[in-house]
């Protein structure tokens, strides 16, 4: 059962908090920008081509994917934070379903992640990233939203199981670094043994980044339809499980 009022108000709250927490906005943006400038321009001067295109052209979709992942998982922090500071109880005693509270959080998290991804994209274009077909931006946005929803769901699942902030930080690092390295995002996996490439086929971030690469840059490893199908399946599964896990979690009483 969905309560639109609860979905709306949780989204609104996330927006208000996001615009107020300047340090959070900066924190979400700094890492991708370092990667963009450091790797894209610095390393890009040494690496002449990746699969027929410039290194900057190759790495920008990876960095957009990375920024989406880190911003999205971070929204799991706010769940733990709310539990820690008792605010979750206030929400839980209201006559609204936990599922709508989970959905409201997901929408709020997606919006903030999309804001940071948009900023990263704009900076990328400014430093020389070329968008091949501007109409494809719309499809690129779909891929970005799907990446965000995947990792917000992961954040919610982890936050429903882990109750302390430090533990949450450790576990998310444990997930994010391997996912990023095995995503084809920062470097092509074609140099690696076959087994690594097989493992990477199970990495949703890889399909998402490949989708962004195909839509914005015009070059992708897989057909876009495959990328899209894989991401939709992952999001449906992860979001359902996240809603379930969040509904079953306790207010920290």
């Amino acid at each position: 059962m969905m309560d639109t009022n609860a979905i709306y108000v949780l989204w609104l709250r996330e927006m208000k908090r996001f615009t107020r927490a300047k340090s959070r906005v900066i924190g979400i943006l700094v890492m991708p920008l370092f990667f963009l400038l450091g790797l894209g321009l610095g390393l890009g001067g040494l690496v002449s081509h990746v699969g027929g295109e410039s290194y900057l052209q190759f790495i920008v979709p990876g960095i957009i994917g990375m920024s989406l992942m880190s911003a999205s998982i971070a929204s799991g922090f706010s769940v733990i934070w709310d539990r820690e500071f008792g605010f979750l109880k206030e929400i839980m005693v209201t006559p609204n379903s936990m599922a709508s509270i989970a959905v409201g959080r997901m929408l709020g998290g997606t919006t903030t992640a999309m804001i940071s991804a948009t900023m990263v994209t704009i900076v990328s274009v400014l430093v020389g990233f070329q968008i091949h077909y501007s109409i494809m931006i719309l499809l690129a946005i779909v891929f970005m939203v799907l990446i965000a929803m995947t990792f917000i769901s992961l954040g919610l699942i982890l936050a429903s199981m882990i109750t302390d902030l430090q533990g949450f930080g450790m576990i998310t690092n444990f997930f994010t670094m391997p996912l990023l390295f095995l995503s084809n995002g920062l470097f092509p996996l074609s140099q690696f043994p076959k087994i690594v490439q097989y493992i990477s086929y199970f990495n949703p971030l890889g399909y998402g980044i490949d989708g962004i690469r195909g839509t914005l840059g015009g070059v992708s490893a897989f057909p876009l339809a495959l990328d899209l199908a894989a991401m939709v399946i992952v999001v449906v599964a992860m979001a359902s499980f996240a809603t379930y896990a969040f509904s079953k979690s306790e207010a920290g009483v």
């Binding site: 009022n5 609860a6 709306y8 108000v9 609104l12 709250r13 208000k16 908090r17 107020r20 927490a21 709310d82 500071f85 008792g86 605010f87 109880k89 206030e90 929400i91 839980m92 005693v93 209201t94 006559p95 609204n96 306790e250 207010a251 009483v253």
Partner: protein, 332 residues
């Protein structure tokens, strides 16, 4: 009509029985108090009633809705003021209230009016638009109490509503709570470990100790069960011997002692003081001061549980000070 009906409610955490087979009813428009020391099971009881914790056994209904089977209906009719803070301190006071109002599906015009009313009631109108993180403890507490009542629930749960507040603000809170009860016809159930709070506010009080209700009645009826007034003697010298002597007086109903104080339970205490002083002189008991008072709820609590409600917190002098403060209307 009973708004809350609790039957055999029990909650176990492992082998610990936090709440042990308690039953009580709360009538419409009543202020009902659960009084007991920290860790007695008050908050656990509340958490079960507000559907945040599933009971191990037993049942309860709130406004006719079962707390297990009909959680949503229960949540529709209750307001809760939690013991621990539960505000979003990144939002302003007004935004916290607005958030709450939307969660309870109030439409925009009603929301606006209600927020204004609540801010006025808890005297935070001029602070409404600052972030809650800049509020003082008392302001936060007031905002939480205001929030708990703004959707006009028929039952409000207050878990230690005035914990950590200074005496003046506490007094203020009591006024709000009473106003709610009389003007809005709200049923209130509150937990407290402040004796004076229960005495001042509650129509009926349940003493709760080790998860069980040990006594339940109106404050006056509970006090009458003590059977008389209490004369407190401050003694210099050997307490043990003096107690023995005092117990020998035929009209002294009970004698108890702590620190250098002896308490006598006596009917018509005001007429007996001179006799006691004379008795003391005759038997060599060195009295340095005498105090006469009506029995307090605390005395009743000691009678039922064998201990003071907050041995670690309140001394005899503190209690006297608070009592004095109450009688003079909150001024020191």
């Amino acid at each position: 009509m009973d708004v809350i009906s609790v039957k055999g409610l029990t909650k176990k955490f492992g082998t610990l029985k936090a709440v042990d087979n308690i039953s009580f009813q709360v009538k419409e428009n009543e202020i009902f108090g659960l009084l007991g020391p920290n860790g007695a099971g008050k908050t656990t009881t509340i958490k079960m009633l507000i559907t945040l914790l599933t009971p191990t056994s037993g049942e309860a209904t709130i406004a006719g809705a079962d707390i297990r089977k009909d959680k949503r209906k229960v949540r529709d009719s209750i307001g809760v003021v939690f013991q621990d803070p539960s505000l979003d301190d990144q939002l302003t006071g007004r935004e916290n209230l607005e958030f709450h109002a939307i969660l309870y599906r109030m439409d925009k015009s009603k929301r606006k009016k209600k927020i204004q009313d609540v801010l006025k009631l808890v005297e935070l109108e001029d602070k409404a638009d600052i972030l809650v993180k800049n509020y003082s403890g008392g302001m936060k507490r007031r905002l939480e109490i205001g929030r708990g009542l703004m959707h006009e629930p028929s039952v409000i749960f207050l878990d230690e509503p005035t914990i950590g507040l200074d005496p003046q603000t506490r007094r203020h809170m009591w006024d709000y709570i009473q106003k709610l009860n009389t003007q809005h016809k709200t049923t209130l159930i509150l937990t407290t470990h402040y004796i004076e709070e229960a005495d001042y506010l509650c129509g009926r009080v349940a003493f709760i100790d080790h998860g069980k209700i040990v006594a339940l009645d109106t404050p006056n009826a509970l006090k009458e069960k003590m059977g008389g007034d209490i004369i407190t003697l401050k003694i210099k010298g050997d307490l043990g011997k003096d107690i023995k002597k005092l117990k020998g007086i035929s009209w002294v109903k009970a004698v108890s002692a702590h620190d250098d104080l002896i308490e006598l339970t006596v009917e018509k205490g005001n007429e007996r003081i001179s006799e006691i002083v004379m008795f003391a002189k005759k038997h060599g008991i060195a009295i340095s001061s005498v105090d006469l008072r009506k029995p307090s709820l605390e005395d009743v609590f000691i009678k039922y549980t064998g201990k003071t409600i907050r041995e670690e917190e309140g001394t005899w002098r503190d209690r006297l000070r608070v009592r004095h403060m109450l009688m003079t209307g909150g001024r020191r």
